[in-house]
């Protein structure tokens, strides 16, 4: 379980706070973090990962404040997957996934049988076994993303944070990734928070949605509830498009069509 208490995230100095006084409790399951560009999705995820200090309030996992935790202890609880795609020379897929075990191993990083099993399972779940022996540099962006998800799974966290990971994948790839994350969450009682621009898929697959409204607030609810109350439209509608409750899709407004015709 991850709990946000009066959490204000953002930057010290001119840029200031991005999201204010968030109070959210989320139990295990797949959480999709939705919101328009610049609403603070990445900032929130970085703060939840302990990579960035909050401006106020705190984040706790199983009752422990993650920003005062020992970094190695935190790494046993929280794993992240980022959009970073440049890695060091000579890094193999196996090297990368094995690193998920770093927080659990001794100073040499030697893997015992249990660690090896975690690595093997992670490769299997993500179907990355096929390229286990290859160099990370030789893989496509989508394959790299799968390897990094495998690495996060090998870390065996209770909270996993993924930033826009579906951006490099095609539709079947996105569905596959989200389903395997959902399954991991269910089997390990883990909370998986995934920021995404993929509204339709998120609303269909997520257990919970965190919706950033662009005014510094985050609404946390089940997908159905958000749809019924029209909150999706509130967050995403612009002068060009509007969310239609009846079709469950965004529709181009007449004004936009006119503009385009001109």
């Amino acid at each position: 379980m991850i709990e946000l208490e009066d959490l204000t995230v953002g930057y010290f100095g001119e840029k200031g706070s991005v999201l204010q006084n968030l109070n959210i409790q989320t139990h295990s399951g797949l959480v999709c973090l939705l919101g328009r560009n610049g609403t603070g999705k990445s900032t929130l995820l970085r703060t939840l990962a302990g990579l960035q200090q909050p401006l106020a309030g705190q984040v706790t996992i199983a009752g422990q404040n993650i920003h005062v935790m020992n970094p190695v202890e935190r790494a046993r609880q929280v794993a992240v997957v980022l959009t970073e795609r440049q890695f060091g020379l000579g890094l193999t897929v196996e090297d990368a996934v094995s690193m998920g075990r770093h927080p659990h191993t001794g100073w040499r990083g030697q893997l015992n049988d249990a660690d090896k099993k975690h690595v093997y399972n992670a490769l299997k779940i993500t179907q990355a076994q096929a390229f286990a022996g290859r160099y990370l540099d030789d893989l496509s962006d989508g394959e790299k993303q799968r390897v990094m998800i495998a690495r996060a799974i090998a870390q065996n966290p209770t909270v996993m944070l993924l930033d826009e990971i579906t951006a490099f994948l095609d539709l079947p790839g996105r569905v596959a990734s989200m389903l395997l994350l959902k399954q991991y969450a269910a089997e390990n009682a883990a909370t998986i928070i995934l920021s995404s621009h993929d509204l339709e898929l998120s609303l269909q697959l997520a257990d919970t949605i965190w919706l950033l409204d662009g005014k510094g607030k985050c609404r946390c609810a089940a997908p159905q509830e958000l749809l019924q109350h029209g909150y999706i439209g509130d967050a995403f509608d612009s002068d060009m498009i509007a969310y239609s409750q009846t079709t469950g899709q965004f529709e181009l407004l007449d004004t936009a069509a006119k503009k385009h015709a001109l």
Partner: protein
């Protein structure tokens, strides 16, 4: 074959090659010695004072120096390439050696101005004062390059490092020109890289900082591996990145400064060796790369030194000329074919 077996087998092969190179290096030279003469001279006496002198006082220190310096530069190369996430980084290519050279030249010049007594002082304490001067120079240029690496690309950084080398060479010539002649003499034997100026004393002086550097490197091997994923991923795995960078930089200085102080600028070695080690282990995990790089570095240094000391008619071959013939093509190959380098440029 899994990576662990590859590392063990690779280390065994490299160690055997190294042993063979030691044997050949001790026997081959202007005076050819038989293997039994060499063994005799090493363990007691060969019954011939000239042979004893050639083996124990001339060739053995040179061979040991090549091993120590090669191992230090090889491991230093692994650390530099990981720290800068740059496959062409090493102490020489990023200008750390140049910084060390400048430090040494300034100390010698300063001593020259103070007086001949100071030169005597330096010659007595050359170990300490020159190593410290080299260490400070290496550290300053390393810090400068770290700051710069956040602003420029992999290849720009390499060019800056090499230019730093050229400007320091010029600067050193100017400093030595105005310095006392004796000082110039102290320096001149050192401006080009060589293992031949070695003595047992100097090797002894190098062992402490280099051992400390090796221990520090091994101690941070796991954290350095995580750095290969990038700083954010490394932090998410529990690595204290700022501390790791400081410790790695310290290890680099401990490994590189003594070599620069005693052998002068050794080119390309630290750049090539990590690639060789990675090819053997087929993995980028840092900890197994360290012994492989130490062995490969020692073997490469000794091979280059052996070529220099073959019984040529005229003795004009320099160590860096030999290393350049091997190293420059490797750099060109990396520039043209390495996806990492191409993508970052």
């Amino acid at each position: 074959m899994n990576s662990r077996n590859r590392v063990q087998l690779g280390a065994l092969v490299l160690a055997s090659v190294l042993f063979l190179l030691v044997a050949v290096s001790l026997s081959v030279g202007q005076v050819a010695l038989t293997f039994s003469e060499v063994v005799g001279a090493l363990f007691g006496s060969s019954g011939n004072l000239t042979v004893d002198h050639i083996v124990s006082d001339i060739r053995l220190p040179r061979v040991l120096m090549a091993i120590v310096a090669g191992a230090a530069l090889g491991v230093g190369g692994v650390l530099m390439q990981t720290l800068f996430r740059n496959p062409m980084a090493d102490a020489w290519s990023l200008g750390l050696t140049a910084g060390g050279q400048l430090g040494v030249a300034i100390v010698i010049a300063a001593a020259g101005f103070v007086g001949p007594a100071a030169i005597g002082f330096i010659q007595v304490f050359d170990g300490l004062s020159l190593t410290l001067a080299a260490g400070l120079g290496v550290l300053l240029s390393a810090l400068g390059m770290m700051a710069l690496s956040r602003r420029v690309s992999t290849i720009s950084l390499l060019v800056v490092g090499l230019m730093l080398g050229f400007s320091v060479q010029g600067l050193v010539s100017v400093i030595i020109h105005f310095a006392n002649r004796v000082g110039g003499k102290v320096y001149s034997g050192w401006a080009d890289g060589t293992f031949a100026a070695a003595s047992f004393d100097s090797i002894g002086m190098m062992l402490l900082p280099i051992s400390a550097g090796l221990v520090l490197a091994a101690n941070n091997g796991k954290a350095l591996t995580s750095l290969l994923l990038g700083e954010t991923y490394a932090r998410s795995l529990g690595t204290d990145v700022a501390r790791l960078q400081r410790l790695t930089l310290l290890a680099v200085v401990l490994l590189v400064a003594p070599v620069t102080a005693y052998c002068g600028p050794i080119t390309f070695l630290g750049l090539i060796v990590p690639h060789l080690a990675r090819a053997i282990s087929r993995s980028a995990q840092i900890l197994p790369l360290l012994p492989l790089s130490a062995l490969a570095g020692a073997a490469l240094a000794l091979s280059a030194d052996l070529i220099v000391h073959l019984p040529w008619d005229a003795h004009f071959l320099h160590l860096n000329a030999v290393l350049g013939m091997i190293g420059a093509p490797v750099v060109i190959f990396l520039l043209v074919f390495s996806s990492v380098v191409r993508r970052q440029s």
